[in-house]
Symmetry: C2
Subunit: 137 residues, 2 copies
Amino acid sequence: MERNTRQRNAILGVITEAGRPLSTQEILVEGQAAVPSLSIATVYRTLKDLITEGWIVPVKLPGEADRYELTKLGKHYHFKCSSCSKVFDIHERIKNNNLPAPADFIVESYDLILYGRCSECVPKPGGTEPGAAKHLV
Amino acid sequence: MERNTRQRNAILGVITEAGRPLSTQEILVEGQAAVPSLSIATVYRTLKDLITEGWIVPVKLPGEADRYELTKLGKHYHFKCSSCSKVFDIHERIKNNNLPAPADFIVESYDLILYGRCSECVPKPGGTEPGAAKHLV
DNA sequence: ACGCTATTGATAATAGTTTATCAGTAGCGT
DNA sequence: ACGCTACTGATAAACTATTATCAATAGCGT
């Protein structure tokens, strides 16, 4: 990065504010609130730069396109809501860190992905499904 | 399925023998040992049928194409070797099943994926990297 | 062995995501 | 304010994985 552009600021701003990993489409739409002309090409270009510079990291989930979040959030896990499709960070530790594998295998790292309903999409008594209407991704 | 073809038998056979989730390419190559003319189209078609019929299930890993394994193996986790790229089943149980998430989230399921070196690719003293030469996927 | 038709093989087409292209725009040093 | 050139926006292109197409092949019931 050599110039401090509105687009770049908007994109890094959106990711910083989000507090959860965002898809390229989420970044595009949110970023256009700040820079209406923002294009998907610039989103991809800037994400690549931000990764190279170490500001953000891609979050990979099975069968889905990458999402992106701040590197400084460090090692943690992810929760995907099966209703609204948003992905949230889980910073709680796994209590028992004793991960089982065959004795002659060397475990170097691991991913844990939880699936379920986020607080917005938990079915509440006497109401219609909140998730259905709030589906944004 | 209405006819019992050599192709179908070969594909289901390869998956059954493997003992680990196989990629479409692995299934194609291994299947061609039994049916040399086997094409990738037939692999995809047959995999879809076998899934519909309940024989196999897709195994999804972050950022990778689906692999396939027998349904009857039941719920378990996976280990991906960072050297040879093979994926192995982990049937051992997680000792502490207390998965952490925000209190107002409902966890319905989870995926656990271990990364590291399989027994074939563990660096052994005084030898060159076995993994480099054995990279088959 | 015959014949019907489900299945196959080869390849084109599709789908989704990411990257390349290039003329126009806008940071930023002077 | 000027000018250089990195950056942007629009879109084409590339890429990978998967599915559709269709003439040729091969199960399987008779």
